[in-house]
């Protein structure tokens, strides 16, 4: 994690993007398939906001990779969106849309709160004629980053920095649709905030026909009230 002031390596993603574009031209899109992953909770109910990561052994380019910039707003004691997928190295802006202050805490799971892995910033509340506080972070560590608020202990949010361009969060129906996945052997990893232990990845074979996979979590995440 670093602030935008430190963005020295900005050209690198661009270069790799260009390189990937060349690969696409060479490989063509014909050898790509679609994978639909359904995530269920322990009770068998569809689970939204699970992050599905497909890691392919073959080369290819996703048509809609996770974004390199994103916005997380604080609205009525919520991080909105609560779960967001971005590319590693993405710039994430945090804004406060509430009339009261928030003190955002950002940390990597498992890290000690006081360690360098965690940081925090206070965002002033929105007042008449003045927008709320705002801060930008660059997430350069792959995987989930946790968001909390020192002032309001119930607030939770998650930014997942994806190192695979085929990374999508599940919708309200618990479905993540991954397109343009290169054909061949791949593995599917599912992350959810309620999981205490990472699930082992499931191997799949991506072919011309759409592939389907159901992953069942061993927890029942708390349903949000709103």
């Amino acid at each position: 994690m670093r602030t935008s002031k430190q963005e020295i390596q900005r050209c690198r993603p661009l270069a790799s993007l260009l390189a990937s574009a060349v690969v696409v031209l060479l490989a063509g899109l014909a050898h790509a398939g679609t994978v639909e992953v359904l995530v269920l909770d322990k009770d068998g109910n569809p689970t939204p906001d699970a992050v599905v990561v497909v890691v392919s052994t073959a080369q290819g380019v996703a048509q809609a990779p996770p974004p390199l910039s994103a916005l997380v707003n604080q609205e009525k004691m919520q991080f909105v969106p609560q779960v967001i997928v971005v590319a590693v190295g993405a710039k994430v802006r945090f804004t406060n849309g509430d009339a009261w202050d928030h003190h955002v805490r950002v940390w990597i799971p498992g890290a000690v709160a006081s360690s360098a892995e965690g940081m925090s910033f206070r965002l002033a509340g929105k007042q008449a004629g003045r927008s709320g506080g705002s801060e930008e972070l660059i997430l350069d560590k792959p995987g989930p980053t946790l968001l909390g608020c020192f002032l309001h202990g119930s607030m939770r949010g998650y930014v997942y920095a994806a190192d695979s361009p085929w990374t999508v969060k599940t919708n309200e129906l618990g479905v993540a649709l991954l397109e343009d996945v290169p054909q061949g052997a791949a593995s599917v990893k599912v992350w959810h905030a309620a999981l205490l232990v990472d699930k082992a990845p499931s191997p799949i074979m991506v072919g011309a026909a759409p592939g389907q996979l159901t992953v069942r979590l061993d927890v029942v995440p708390r349903r949000r009230r709103i």
Binding site: K76, M77, Q78, D98, A99, W100, G125, F150, L151, H152, G153, S154, R224, R225, I226
Partner: protein, 150 residues
């Protein structure tokens, strides 16, 4: 719950005139900050809120709800809110009650339990029963925004 609220409201109506009458000797006839004064002004409310939050965290029923709560911040918000409600010179700048509670699972039982803990905290500070009921009457309508599980 309704019964409690109604009786609270009635009790507060009945006692509302008393402090004003008692203070006519040295206060204007209509005193808008009488309750604030009776609660011990800002130092009294700060001490009350500090103890109230500690009691909430220790309460067997409510402890889990308040486990992750920032003690200092909640105490400050409660002090400001009680102060503003009771006619004191504070401005409450915290969250509205609906936004503050909308994603939490709060039952009528939780709300009533919190009222009990607040009463115990006020008892511990030696706040008169009539004064307690005046504050509770101002807080009671918040049940609509606070209770999410119906």
């Amino acid at each position: 719950m309704k019964k409690i609220l109604i009786s609270l409201a009635l009790a507060s109506l009945a006692v509302a005139c008393l402090p004003a009458m008692a203070q006519t000797s040295h206060q204007p006839a209509v005193s808008t900050n009488a309750l604030f004064l009776a609660l011990g002004q800002t130092p009294g409310l700060t001490a009350l809120a500090d103890d109230f939050v500690i009691r909430l965290k220790q309460d067997a029923r409510l402890g889990p709800h308040f486990k992750n709560v920032n003690q200092k911040n909640l105490s400050k918000q409660l002090t400001d809110q009680f102060c503003a409600l009771s006619g004191g010179p504070c401005v409450y700048e915290g969250a509205d009650m609906k936004s503050a509670h909308m994603d939490m699972d709060i039952t009528k039982g939780d709300f009533n339990a919190l009222v009990e803990v607040l009463q115990a905290a006020m008892d511990a500070k030696g706040i008169a029963f009539t004064t307690q009921n005046q504050l509770l009457a101002l807080l009671a309508p918040m049940h609509r925004a606070v209770i999410t599980v119906r």
